[in-house]
Symmetry: C2
């Protein structure tokens, strides 16, 4: 009876469509994992936006996450819940001071995330992250076929 | 009107109680961030159990997460959703082959997580993680007072 309650695994095309819908979701957060050059992991939930090419985060310029991505140019992000996961290895495209950000970038972030870091008292930066490798799965029966992007290209 | 919809911030005692309830939740997952010694971050969602002292994970012996925690003896875990967060810096207490695990450990994990890694075809290990530093918050109005454990001791 348990097996009957788990839906059939989604196709690759369905997983890409569902992933794009998650990336476009309003007022959503992603778990952002980074590491220092000497191997200390960091993890925080951050609000995000999506411009069709990059995931856009905003974080204090002095935060551990920003320090780590400046040094490593990479991160791994997880969008949940944990039984409807999108997990992406990402590369830093650009890091932009919020105070000097192009209006279209700042407006896009504010509209999708529901929050405008330009109004915070401390200096923020936008971090634009390019997707390189993406996995998407719900339950154990979707572990096969979970890879949906490789080397920056959707596989479906 | 938005402000009126956000509940009052919880007390420290309430945050500890809610955190213990999350740790005891059945069939729940946590986001597990680790790093390699050369600074490559990793992130995966894993089922967990809680014995009142350590968070217990199970993962393939050959997985990146297990390789990283064997080398670094630490991790950072996030239990969601992202607007009801428990974020913990943890230290490895023990790593135990599932095949040789004490029955009470294996049973505890199977009962709480709803899954028994001893039945998997590949070798698994249990990773017991001691909480060292814990933060808990829901919305922005709970960022103040988010620290609820320091140096392994609950502050409330």
């Amino acid at each position: 009876m348990i097996a009957a309650m788990t839906p059939e695994p989604r196709s690759g095309h369905a997983r890409v469509a569902d992933t794009l819908a998650k990336l476009a979701e309003v007022e959503a957060d992603t778990w952002v994992a980074t590491a220092s050059t000497d191997g200390v992991q960091h993890l925080v939930p951050l609000s995000y936006a999506w411009d069709g090419r990059s995931v856009i985060l905003a974080a204090p310029a002095s935060s551990v996450t920003v320090r780590n991505v400046r040094a490593s140019s990479r991160a791994r992000i997880g969008i949940g819940p944990t039984r409807d996961v999108v997990l992406a290895d990402v590369e830093v495209d650009r890091i932009v001071d919020a105070a000097d950000a192009p209006a279209d970038l700042a407006e896009r972030y504010a509209v999708q995330s529901g929050w405008d870091p330009r109004r915070e008292p401390e200096p923020y930066v936008y971090v634009l992250l390019r997707l390189r490798r993406v996995q998407a799965w719900r339950e154990a029966n979707e572990l096969e076929g979970k890879l949906i992007m490789r080397d920056g290209a959707w596989l479906y």
